[in-house]
Symmetry: D2
Subunit: 278 residues, 4 copies
């Protein structure tokens, strides 16, 4: 039984091994009539692309995509939008050595047990390269959400022991993309970069935290009781390779708070709109 | 909301407009370790291919497929098996005349109302070309089913007024492929071919009936109460372009039968296996 | 894996064995704010109820339902609408004799093989009693569809060899409920009833055909390519106990028709609305 | 569109408002032949039941369940297992005052916007009472998992600022149930209880953390890439009322760890079984 689809109304199904001929996916349910800005998709793909700075993996991939269906005369048709991204950095010999090795903290062993037959080249299906298809679909979804006024911005808020303590409301989120590490606090971004470089020189890696800010989300998204908005977000995030934790709103901090501190009281703003008290 | 997936354990999601760059699909849930015989898939694709005889549409397509994922060293990985079939017979100018015409008994008008924006070239997503992706996936499924001893054979049993009255048990099903019209009774096959040729000369077309024989189906396939085996088969068949009816077992003939005529009595064969009385 | 749910936006999940304590179901996705007319639901349940005439099974059931959730102050909440129907005609001793018998053309043997452990009393889950839950949910759905102007009417058009040849457009569908056999042609209704009575006296039963007329269906219902409207209808109908065939529109008659006879040509009516030529 | 189902092979659909006549659910996909221990289910329900100690809500509910289907002669049938739990503590007048009030940090306002019509009595569908149905289904699932040797134990590891720092491997998990607050460290349990009692006297509440230990989980559970085991767990947990965070394995601690510290190296134990190095 496969688990390679996500979503209901806007459903993404992905495919691809890291060293097969291509990765990609099908978006089923993208509304018709959306004027697709390919440059924005390219921008999102470029942002994810490996090998951009010395801080990331050095795999070289152009990550150029081809849209095979679902778009006609620049606009979505409401039919399945299929896309493929060819793999370029394919040197099978590189991976002969790992054929009989289960890398620590990777899915190699799990795939071996689960499927019997596996593509051992660079993780195969379990490679983080799989996320390129998510990025593509996300870039399409983003264009739809933008029309609805919804804003989504994410930044790196922790790298190893270096944690950005400033709340997002006091950060200039427009600077996120200007740093290699995508942290909107320039001083902290430098600290993080230095830390990663140092670890890299030692042949080591680090963990981190990404903070994502959603604005103009209308009330009532998600479906009770199992498909709550935060539940679907949690599933989406925890399905990304190496994700170990998810929090929402006050997150784990809520554990040590009193109800009286934690509660959001409803009130009306000057226009009569219901908001939570600040 | 999309409807481009079929199946649960072995789930096919398809994409593609008839005159876009490609059609294809993703099979999610194909078991790992299946030695895939590409020749058998090519055979199935060739069997469906338009332009094979004067009896069918004259569209020219090589219908060569490319498998992008899910297969490694000739065997399925258990991961999504993605495949694409490039469209070749793409002459946009051919279709300029139908841009503002809703062809009778086609989905043009329905797509226009449903999606607003549509690919008017040859039906777009509603083209019967879409079934090529089903044929590919069916050819993969067939290889899996063959391992389980299940046999599936289909033939044309009616074309226009010409109906093959001989029960399948008295036909030589190995001759199905030897006639252009795929009818295992050679005399009837000729009658059918002549009828189609005559209609074609008149600029007309005809309806028909396909009979499909399933052998060695184990008891208990399907899931009560909504996903019964015959219910899923009916959905699959009725989702094919231009399908108007489905029957199963005694079908509509059951309406005029008495229970005493219709009932299958269980008995044991000489090996003690439960069978229905002949 | 269960198959006891049907539908996506308006999803019905049913439960219940024929001689367990109750049958029922949950409707998930019924829109909020629907003023529910319980009398209409009672009417639909009464219409299905066994023991109404000498023509049907003599099982006695009040088929009173209880709504457990999803309705508040007479209106639906948008939350799951759960309902139960208690089984009354429960005499376990009646069924001791069938404990070790697989009735012909019933699912007893299939359940035995599939599940190992089965409720042998009157078919258990495979009993046609299961359809009472479908009738309840259908009666709720009908109230929603009525608001959208959609009309659905069904009648018996064939019983054994007796077939109603008059097209529905020439029948007075308001008379359907006035006959025990639910045929809107009174003379044919009598013929059908007599035939059933005669067979019953002989300890036999008969097949039949139900014709269902849908009016005011907006274009664009269903989802291409697998979840076409007719495909979902076919699945729904073929999942009903003992259903053997489904046809839609011209149905099997289309097989013997020429394209030129069969095609629906689009034209505009006097109000400029697109219709198919009569 | 409803979101009241969870799971695929073992699928739970729940229903019920906190002050409607009943809550409950249907389990579709429970394997046949499971000897159901009702006492264990009663134990799980009793464990969840409100009003057990002065630390929890004082609502009085017997939480007796009735199984309506899916079980015959003490064993599951493989058919849907429906269960209901009647609501007893139903005093509508209690809630007249909240009819026009949106309680802070509750879903009242969201339901109002989403559905228009809502059951304002004690939260209706958004009440934490809904979790009783999850507990019932979990208690059935647990009996199935126990047969497979899988062990699941959960305890309270933090209440407000009081955090149990001892790793689970050094705790006696058999003592979990012996404290009102379900913390296996008796001293900490007392501290937690005192803290809650103090807050309660002040009319306040607190947050907390639950730690859940899974043992004997076979490799390969879950489905890549979206339905990973941890992703489905995250969704399940985050769909519980008031849940704000989920972590798995090293969780948020992984953010500050180096790869070299974090990685699990595979090795073989003395029996040749692949394990992760301790």
């Amino acid at each position: 039984m496969g688990g390679n689809s996500f979503g209901t109304l806007f459903k993404l199904t992905t495919f691809g091994e890291s060293h097969g001929s291509a990765i990609g996916g099908i978006i089923d349910g993208c509304p018709a009539g959306l004027q697709l800005d390919l440059e924005k998709i390219r921008g999102a793909m470029a942002r994810r692309k490996p090998g951009q700075s010395i801080l990331t993996t050095q795999r070289q991939e152009a990550d150029e995509f081809e849209i095979l269906s679902g778009v006609f005369e620049g606009k979505t048709l409401g039919t399945p939008l299929a896309f493929i991204i060819r793999n370029q950095d394919y040197k099978p010999s590189d991976y002969e050595t790992v054929k009989t090795v289960f890398r620590p903290s990777h899915a190699d062993y799990t795939y071996h047990v689960k499927y019997g037959h596996r593509d051992h080249r660079g993780g195969g299906r379990s490679s983080a390269r799989e996320t390129a298809a998510r990025v593509f679909a996300g870039a399409v979804a983003m264009q739809f959400l933008e029309q609805a006024g919804i804003q989504i911005q994410a930044y790196v808020s922790q790298v190893g022991p270096h944690k950005l303590a400033i709340p997002y409301t006091e950060l200039d989120l427009s600077t996120i993309e200007s740093t290699a590490v995508r942290c909107p606090d320039l001083r902290m971004a430098e600290t993080m970069s230095d830390y990663i470089s140092k670890l890299k020189a030692e042949g080591d890696t680090t963990g981190g935290v990404i903070t994502c800010i959603l604005k103009q989300i209308p009330p009532g998204l998600g479906e009770p009781v199992f498909d709550k908005f935060q539940a679907d977000l949690a599933k989406a995030c925890m399905s990304i390779n190496a994700a170990h934790a998810f929090d929402y709103g006050s997150g784990f901090d809520a554990a040590s708070m009193k109800g009286s501190e934690h509660n959001d009281v409803f009130e009306k703003d000057m226009h009569g709109k219901v908001i939570t008290k600040k």
